[in-house]
């Protein structure tokens, strides 16, 4: 029986705060949980004395389900909360809302919030462990972890791989978290999209920028196709979805014309026919559904490792 180092953080607010060792520890643990969720009884009793609140101040299907399944498969008690049906609408502040929930003896909070920095803000003000499930356009750390984990699973390692993130980089928390995670693990990262959707100072993060999809795809081992986040776009960033799709949409024709076989990823939800065509999304090169499966294992690992730090009371 050998032990590993604890995570260097008490909360998961962003990939930026993690060390490479932290990410490796999460992956090693996720390997074991992946085996657990593929057995007849997909549950372990580790967290039976832990209570977790899922606070979703913004819509989510996949992430919320994935977290909830991860929590239940660790035997934690789970309470769910969504902003639509809460006192937030009655004018209560975030800290008040959460402190009220914590009075009911909650050990960990998984939160999605439209404001960047909301998870960090909360983690500095409440005694519970906080996991960021997406804070506005800032970070979505568990998505980046499951993306990197899926690349590791498919290609054996992330180190030295070339990954292009295509699409709406400006509004994407998935892009920022992915850039941090992939770079920490030794991958090269490129972003590709219309000039208006690439943040002005992105090169300061050490990523390549390319505006030609074909060139980007020829360069990469993995293409992560992002959704156009129309709900976050208050002005028009490109003439039409049709034009975007023609210039930056991934279709079978481009994919087949490349000199090597690349891996295609998508964090979901997919807009079929916009950033990716159906035949590509359902092709053998696509690992979109594996990403979803790995999401549960990776989230189990994050929750398990943070729960190890919850004080017994």
């Amino acid at each position: 029986m050998t032990t590993m180092d604890n995570l260097s953080v008490d909360h998961l607010t962003g990939i930026r705060d993690l060390t490479r060792q932290d990410i490796e520890t999460i992956f090693t643990t996720a390997d074991s949980f992946k085996a657990v969720i593929n057995r007849p009884i997909k549950k372990v009793p580790s967290l039976r004395d832990i209570t977790i609140a899922n606070l979703f101040f913004e819509n989510s299907t996949r992430t919320r389900l994935s977290f909830e399944l991860a929590e239940k498969r660790l035997s934690a008690d789970v309470v769910n909360f969504s902003a639509a049906s809460s006192s937030v609408k009655k004018g209560e502040t975030l800290v008040d809302t959460v402190n009220n929930i914590l009075s009911m003896k909650v050990d960990m909070v998984v939160m999605r919030h439209p404001n960047p920095g909301a998870a960090k803000f909360l983690s500095e003000r409440i005694p519970a462990k906080v996991i960021n499930a997406g804070d506005g356009t800032h970070e979505h750390p568990t998505q980046a972890l499951l993306d990197a984990y899926s690349i590791r699973e498919k290609l054996g390692t992330v180190e030295g791989k070339k990954v292009v993130i295509v699409g709406d980089i400006l509004h994407s928390r998935v892009a920022l978290s992915n850039i941090y995670a992939l770079q920490k693990l030794g991958a090269e990262v490129m972003v590709c999209g219309p000039t208006t959707l690439i943040p002005k100072y992105i090169h300061e993060l050490g990523v390549k920028v390319e505006h030609n999809l074909r060139k980007a795809l020829e360069w990469c081992d993995v293409a992560n196709m992002l959704r156009i986040q129309l709900e976050r776009q208050d002005i028009q960033f490109f003439p039409s979805l049709r034009e975007y799709s023609m210039l930056f949409g991934l279709n079978k024709e481009i994919l087949d014309s490349l000199s090597k076989e690349i891996v295609v990823m998508h964090p979901g939800p997919i807009n079929r026919g916009v950033e990716i065509t159906s035949d590509v999304a359902d092709s053998k090169q696509s690992i979109i559904l594996q990403q979803v499966e790995n999401g549960v294992a990776v989230r189990m690992a994050v929750i398990y490792l943070l729960a190890a730090k919850v004080e017994r009371g």
Binding site: M1, M4, S32, I41, K43, P45, S46, A307, V310
Partner: protein
């Protein structure tokens, strides 16, 4: 630290042979029985038992490994997390006779976790426990082994280590006693 060899290479071999004969007495040709080793150190014992049993019976014996990390009762009571090992049970244990194997039986807590972990794979007809070394009178739980290589009386401050040819160069069981031990 004072070092005392409890079982030397020859004695380890003799003991494993005896355990195999005892297993055959109860499980005949192992048609309904499987052997499962507890990770990480129980699997060394399983590998040896498997080899010897297969020589004696002339057919293969179904064996697996079980990791109990997520079933332990000391989660959040340890300073650092334990690295989980692989579980490898690619057969059905439903209605099988399972022989659970570990190297040293001490407090019984590992076996308790092992029983929990095992039941996640189905409902065996019967579960037995085999241990190479039984540190008697040190149990925290009412758990006893069905097959015992050697029973030893030890102090809590002492440590029993089993070394294997594959990993440590030599088969032997060693008892370590701290020098300043007066109890």
């Amino acid at each position: 630290m004072e070092k005392q060899v409890i079982l030397n290479e020859k004695q380890v071999e003799l003991t494993l042979h005896r355990l195999c004969h005892q297993l055959i007495e109860n499980h005949n040709n192992f048609s309904d029985s499987v052997i499962i080793g507890l990770q990480p150190r129980g699997i060394h014992v399983v590998n040896r038992l498997k080899k010897t049993l297969e020589q004696k019976l002339n057919h293969s014996i179904t064996c697996g490994n079980l990791d109990i990390t997520f079933y332990r009762d000391d989660f959040r009571r340890r300073e650092t997390p334990i690295i989980p090992s692989a579980t490898n049970i690619d057969f059905v244990i439903e209605n099988k006779k399972v022989v659970l194997v570990d190297d040293v039986l001490y407090t019984g807590r590992t076996i308790r976790s092992g029983l929990d972990a095992l039941l996640a794979y189905g409902r065996p007809q019967k579960v037995e426990l085999l241990t190479l070394i039984d540190r008697r009178f040190k149990r925290h739980l009412p758990i006893q082994a069905d097959y015992i290589g050697k029973a030893v009386d030890t102090l809590i401050s002492e440590r029993v280590t089993i070394e294997w040819k594959e990993t440590d160069g030599k088969d032997q069981v060693i008892l370590f006693t701290p020098n300043d031990n007066h109890g």
